[in-house]
């Protein structure tokens, strides 16, 4: 009962804040609502017993991604109202389409039932599981580098590409910047830069 209550609390806040993300006028508010949504989703994961993913959500999404968003939004200082104009035109049709999609998803959901085979497999596994249950982290660690090594490495390559991409597209070597070069400074001698001239009064150089 209590679990159900907490579930609905998290789920309700999650849906509401997700709605606020896309309707809030101020973009900073949007990002803040996004963070709230992440927190609630993390709570839901914890309730499911997936504490690792829950924490991951908090650390990575809230701690890194959303905060980065916040910085970007604040630094760009853009006229969001103007940007919004383009998208506003599509709202009525968008709502209609969303409605249609939702109905269809509901219809399809009606036919859902859990695949019996999956049920037996997971139950069978848990029966054979060791006495001391593994924590999420341990369980993931056990399969991530063995069963899922292929996918894991693949994901690594994706991140590599993302990194390369970010560097290629943003790193600029600007010419004309003044940089301190210690070696050059030390090599410099008075004779290189100074020239002594005798100036006769009244003539200039």
């Amino acid at each position: 009962m209590l679990a159900a209550l907490i579930f609905y609390l998290f789920a309700g806040i999650l849906s509401l804040s997700a709605l606020m993300v896309i309707t809030a006028r101020n973009p900073v508010h949007s990002v803040l609502f996004l963070i709230l949504a992440f927190f609630n989703a993390a709570g839901l994961f914890v309730m499911l017993g997936a504490e690792f993913i829950g924490m991951l959500l908090v650390i990575v999404y809230v701690g890194a991604v959303a905060v980065l968003f916040l910085f970007v939004v604040m630094m760009l200082n853009m006229e969001f109202k103007e940007l919004r104009k383009g998208s506003m035109r599509f709202i009525p049709v968008g709502l209609l389409l969303g409605g249609v999609l939702l109905t269809e998803l509901v219809i399809v959901y009606q036919t859902w039932k859990i695949n019996p085979k999956v049920l037996t497999e997971t139950l069978g596994d848990s029966a054979a599981a060791p006495e001391v249950p593994l924590t999420n982290t341990e369980a993931l660690g056990q399969i991530l580098y063995t069963d899922y090594i292929y996918i894991f490495q693949g994901a690594g390559m994706i991140l590599l590409v993302a990194m390369i991409g970010a560097i290629v597209l943003t790193l600029r070597e600007r010419s004309g910047l003044k940089r301190q070069k210690v070696a050059d400074q030390q090599k410099r001698q008075a004779s290189d830069v100074l020239e002594i001239k005798k100036v006769t009064p009244g003539t200039g150089i």
């Binding site: 269809e104 998803l105 219809i107 399809v108 036919t111 859902w112 039932k113 859990i114 695949n115 019996p116 085979k117 999956v118 063995t146 069963d147 899922y148 090594i149 292929y150 996918i151 490495q153 693949g154 994901a155 390559m157 994706i158 590599l160 590409v161 993302a162 390369i164 991409g165 560097i167 290629v168 597209l169």
Partner: protein
């Protein structure tokens, strides 16, 4: 030999490619000078080396990496084609990149990584590896589209491609999650088993498949998911456009074939209808929208949309006949496109690259050989015998008729007749119009070599259309 817990034999080409790409990346980053060209040649060699590794493998069907990876003769053929055509595209682009002063040494690295992504896609035996491969491939391509970062159009193309590509990835993920929800597994073989055991999950799987299919349709730019194509083709540097036009679609088509034939064979009556719509829409858009194009790259974009439409016909027909015809068609299309882009990249007018069709005016007088080569390519593209493109279309339409899809064949012929007009216009401009300004042809050994190979393929297939067709049909036989 080190005794590994899992066998990595089948993925040796992938590992080689990944390690090679990272090695070249380090070399590029550490080098004091800009060595883009050297790296490009090294990358070409790496691709060819990988190709030989792949050929030396055993192509019998085997599933490895805990069910994520499948190696069979189908994957083998497609991967070979991907590797070789990528090598060709890199060879095409070296001269162009140098001339356009795109110096980023990451260019060949990104090409290598996207090739890796395509190989993963082609060998995917699980929704997870499908997604990883697709994303690796696309992410590298997004960056490549934007690589000329000082050009507004290039940046615009990249961002458009990225945003829409992200949407399509979202569709694929959403679809995958629906499929997982119903089938309880992401493995292709297991999905097929689950479906045959519980036919009542049909509706759910269908819905998931539609999402998946829409995402893939974006990748192969089938109408109505094609909108990005002309803009991105136009905006991206021509060498990147060539890459877009030639290689990724093959990988995505192969992926489609695999998911239709393996996990979703039971839903055939459903996906055939959807492909029907996609195919017809693509053929018509490709034929009609190109009529008014003035920009060569946009024209080729619509041409590729149309060609994907024809290629889909074979998938609809199914069986080794249909799939074989599709592969055959697409391989020829790749060869033709490579040659066409090669010529376009070599031509310059007043020091700038060609953009407009009318810039080709009078080419036959100043550069007759190149003009004839381009004319052969265009005739082939429009499917006029005796060129190879004709056989591609012939086999596609023949399979459609044999499979009872007469309307598709008729629509295909209608649109290829219409499309012939714009290919022909290029020939007309080259041969019959007066030259206004001088054209320069830049010779570049690797690029010219690619053009020659492409012409050889096209003319060689005229006399011997059969061996390749048998090869593609045998390859597709491993899907069933």
């Amino acid at each position: 030999m080190i005794n590994l817990p899992i066998s990595i034999d089948a993925i040796i080409p992938e590992i080689t490619l990944a390690c090679g790409a990272m090695f070249l990346l380090i070399i590029g980053a550490l080098s004091k000078r800009i060595i883009t060209n050297t790296l490009s040649y090294a990358a070409v060699l790496l691709l060819i080396f990988t190709f030989f590794l792949l050929v030396s493998l055993n192509w019998d069907t085997s599933i490895s990496m805990n069910g994520f990876f499948v190696m069979d003769s189908f994957a083998g053929l497609i991967k070979s084609a991907v590797l070789l055509s990528m090598a060709g595209v890199l060879a095409l682009s070296t001269g162009y990149m140098k001339r356009e002063e795109i110096v980023a040494f990451e260019y060949p690295i990104l090409v290598l990584l996207s090739t890796l992504g395509m190989m993963v896609m082609v060998s995917a035996n699980d929704l997870l590896s499908l997604y990883i491969g697709l994303e690796l491939q696309s992410l590298a391509l997004y960056v490549l589209a934007t690589i000329r970062r000082n050009s507004l159009r290039s940046a615009e193309a990249g961002i458009k491609y990225f945003v829409l590509g992200a949407l399509s990835s979202g569709m694929i993920l959403f679809g995958s999650s629906i499929i997982y929800g119903f089938a309880g597994t992401t493995n292709f073989t297991a999905i097929a088993e689950a479906f045959s055991a519980n036919p009542d999950m049909k509706l759910g799987l269908s819905m998931g498949l539609v999402f998946l299919l829409s995402g893939l349709a974006f990748k192969i730019s089938a109408a109505p998911f094609h909108m990005w194509t002309p803009d991105v083709y136009e905006g991206a540097p021509t060498s990147v456009t060539a890459l877009f036009a030639i290689v990724p679609k093959l990988a995505a088509l192969a992926l489609m074939m695999r998911i239709f034939c393996e996990p979703f064979m039971g839903l055939q009556d459903m996906w055939v209808q959807i492909l029907w719509v996609l195919s017809v829409a693509s053929m018509l858009v490709g034929a009609f929208a190109a009529l008014t194009q003035e920009n060569i790259k946009r024209l080729l974009a619509y041409s590729s949309i149309g060609n994907v439409g024809y290629a889909l016909i074979g998938i609809i027909v199914g069986g080794t006949g249909g799939l074989g015809a599709t592969l055959y068609y697409f391989l020829i299309y790749m060869a033709m496109t490579a040659g066409t882009f090669g010529i376009i990249m070599s031509l310059r007018r007043e020091g700038a690259s060609l953009e407009k069709i009318e810039s080709l005016e009078g080419m036959s007088k100043t550069h007759p050989v190149q003009a004839y080569v381009l004319a052969i390519l265009m005739f082939s593209m429009s499917g006029i015998p005796p060129m190879a493109g004709f056989f591609g279309k012939l086999f596609i339409f023949e399979s459609a008729i044999a499979g009872g899809y007469i309307y598709l064949a008729v629509l295909g012929v209608v649109s290829s007749v219409v499309a012939a007009y714009y290919y022909l216009r290029i020939i007309k401009v080259m041969f019959f119009d007066e030259q206004v300004e001088e054209l320069q042809y830049e010779t570049n050994v690797p690029r010219d070599a690619v053009i020659i190979v492409s012409i050889l393929i096209i003319t060689g297939l005229v006399l011997m259309p059969e061996p390749l067709l048998i090869m593609t049909q045998n390859a597709t036989a491993s899907l069933f």
